[in-house]
Symmetry: C2
Subunit: 238 residues, 2 copies
């Protein structure tokens, strides 16, 4: 029963600690600029001990990315209660929280240049693993949206609207990170409206989409974001 003595961590506990430390560093600067020495120092252990748990920076990066992906996907979960527009707005807030917390790492990853190791090459397996994680987050977002719309199987035009809107949300977040010249709260609301606008454009030319859109907006309150947008658009045109 000793006190004041640092307890030795188990293997899995140490691995999880290292992943957390690495994720924090990879989030705050471009992963290319973070060294194993720095990770070891931040974790309070020696460089060889880091290698004992992870064969290299790349495997540690992949583990950190996996944790970040799971974290982000978890933020998409939202109770199926109340107007859909307000639900989407809450998810957008948590999405921008995530982007804010992981800014430089998120940018580096989404711009296609994650964690190239010191020898300047990266394997095909690494590229595939990274892309698979990005795709899994996009798929989680897609599945959540369909679930909130209560649609089991999306017709092609709805799939297009939802998936292309997800890419719009990604590029909007990336552009926001580059200088933060527009308040994020404005962009969170704008993305909710963009979703409605893209669905409306598709609905303007397709009956199936028009029927879907009517179902989507029928429970929106008169003081919710959708109604507000419509009011503002009408004012704009007059």
């Amino acid at each position: 029963m000793s006190t004041g003595v640092r307890r030795r961590m188990g293997v899995e506990e140490r691995r999880q600690q290292l992943i957390g430390v690495a994720l924090d560093l990879f989030s705050r600067r471009s992963p290319d600029e973070v060294s194993i020495d720095e990770i070891a120092s931040a974790a309070g252990i020696s460089r060889p001990l880091v290698y004992h748990y992870f064969p290299g920076k790349l495997s540690l990066y992949e583990a950190a990315l996996k944790r970040a992906s799971e974290d982000l996907a978890a933020r998409f979960a939202e109770p199926h209660e109340g107007p859909v527009g307000a639900r989407l707005l809450r998810v957008m807030r948590r999405y921008f929280d995530f982007v804010d917390e992981h800014g430089p790492g998120f940018s580096a990853l989404m711009r296609g240049g994650p964690a190239v190791p010191a020898d300047g090459v990266r394997s095909k397996d690494h590229v595939s693993a990274t892309n698979a994680l990005i795709d899994s987050v996009r798929q989680a977002a897609y599945d959540q949206i369909l679930a909130h719309l209560q649609i089991a199987e999306a017709p092609p035009r709805l799939e297009l609207v939802v998936r292309s809107w997800i890419s719009l949300a990604e590029s909007t977040a990336l552009l926001w990170l580059d200088g933060r010249r527009v308040p994020r709260a404005e962009l969170e609301l704008q993305l909710v409206h963009d979703f409605a606008a893209l669905a409306a454009v598709s609905a303007a030319y397709d009956e199936e989409m028009a029927a879907l859109l009517k179902t989507m907006v029928k429970d929106e309150p008169a003081d919710g974001p959708f109604a507000e947008l419509v009011g503002r658009l009408i004012a704009l045109g007059s």
Copy 2:
């Protein structure tokens, strides 16, 4: 003065021929699946002779990508005459022509997995060169749009609308390639409307954008795509 004898090509001419042959092959199948042997065979020369002009598949891929980028950027050029909506629709048609012609290569490139050589690694320089070419095409699209809107320096919200719309056009084209379940003509028109819709959403909350939008639509004809969309949206709401 011989006839019927194959003329020997000069170095630059041979290089250009090889780039054309390679681009054609890289466009029709995923670049990963195209071998130097195949390129040599399609060009009617020996494998060692290909290596005489290009040190490897990667440098040939980069050269082909450069030509494709220039080709695509050139298709954005459109006379500054007539309604802006109709101009954008013509550019969208040429954009989908390009995507159609280079389908598998375009998909592989935009999904972040271009031309990994046989040894399974790719250099940081290659990743940078590839990303720089993609960015140069996006920048060309951005510059063209601003020029057509007659805006020298875009305020942050307009820059966001234009750049995020460009990424929307990319993802829409990629989703279209994956099964072609929606007619491309519909998507070309939809993207023109999406541009107007995203600008309108931004304008609904910002006076500067509202003023810009009014300038943008003031010359649109009553039978043009913008007016048609507005009519259809109003019908949808009634």
